[in-house]
């Protein structure tokens, strides 16, 4: 597999507004407000990415992180098997927005928001 650099505009054009998926819509909005000049689009087999993310999510959860959309993403990655998947992300105010995409088309595979539940409670309280 190889990688390429894509601009923020290319990513946003491919993702549109995010459709009916509220998690994806929030992630797209974050990507729009907090873009990087470009993103590296590589490609990791979905099953390998799933195994990695399962460990990362488990560890982050043990450190107080909360996830939205994670189970749906992991299920989708399981379905995709060895298909390559890449990701783009945005980070703001302690919240982390991830959109995983098919490298060739930049169509979304799934979206996850991770945030620190404790900080969020403190901030809102």
């Amino acid at each position: 597999m190889t990688f390429r650099e894509v601009t923020s505009d290319e990513v946003l054009a491919a993702l549109g507004e995010g459709g009916e998926d509220s998690v994806l819509r929030a992630c797209v909005a974050a990507l729009r407000v907090h873009p990087r000049p470009s993103y590296t689009i590589g490609g990791t087999p979905a099953n390998a990415l799933r195994e990695t993310l399962e460990v990362k999510y488990r560890h982050a959860a043990s450190r107080g992180k909360t996830f939205v959309g994670d189970q749906e993403l992991l299920l989708r990655l399981r379905e995709l098997g060895s298909e390559p998947v890449s990701g783009v992300d945005a980070h703001h105010a302690g919240k982390h927005f991830y959109v995983y995409v098919t490298p060739s088309t930049l169509r979304h595979v799934g979206a996850v928001i991770m945030y620190d539940a404790l900080s969020d409670e403190v901030a809102s309280g």
């Binding site: 993103y39 390998a48 990415l49 195994e51 992180k65 990701g87």
Partner: protein, 198 residues
């Protein structure tokens, strides 16, 4: 002594003096910039970031043009057998867990850390997000329990120290570490590492 010989002796001495003046400040500055209590130093300020610093690698860093040649760390293999004891005593230990079935597992069993692609990108954001198969970086942690999580029950844990990697010329990148993994990212294929069980 032949005049030409005297000239060579003088020339050698002059070069030695110049080198000592030129090199002394950079050596001193490298040794004098320890990071926040973890022993990471600004060995190669352009490539190696101190842990805890707020420096990020831009996405453009991932471009493949003009990559440094990936290489197995020379000399480290010799010390591999006793690296464990000295690693814990003489530096900041770092760990990399590799699960059985991982594409780099066979190399890991031999004490080699293999990135997904030695000619791949070095985008720390993409790597941290899990897209590692096209990356020339490998993930490490200063927290052994994190490596144990990645190794699983039947995997292996590679171990070395930050200082040993720096001394070997391995580039160390700071991870954005959004998952609180105490993560460091090391560039290229690295051999001669201590192999332990989870």
């Amino acid at each position: 002594m032949h005049p030409a010989g005297r000239w060579l002796v003088f020339l050698s001495a002059a070069i030695a003096v110049v080198l000592s003046v030129v090199l002394a400040p950079s050596t001193a500055s490298a040794a004098a910039v320890p990071a926040a209590g973890n022993g990471v130093r600004a060995h190669h300020p352009g490539m190696i970031f101190t842990v805890g610093a707020d420096q990020r690698v831009p996405a453009g860093e991932g471009r493949a043009e003009g990559l440094p040649q990936a290489q197995i760390v020379s000399g480290a293999c010799v010390a591999a057998e006793d690296a464990g004891a000295s690693a814990a005593a003489d530096g900041t230990p770092i760990y990399r867990g590799v699960a059985q079935g991982h594409n780099a597992f066979a190399d890991a069993q031999q004490g080699i850390a293999s990135p997904g692609d030695v000619a791949g990108h070095a985008d720390v954001f993409a790597h941290n997000a899990g897209d590692t198969w096209t990356s020339r970086l490998t993930s490490w942690s200063t927290d052994r329990t994190v490596a144990e999580g990645f190794a699983g029950k039947n995997g292996v844990i590679l171990q070395t120290t930050i200082e040993e990697m720096q001394a070997s010329g391995v580039n160390i990148f700071e991870s954005p570490d959004y998952f609180d993994e105490s993560e460091l990212l090391l560039e290229g294929r690295i051999g001669g590492l201590q192999v332990t069980q989870p």
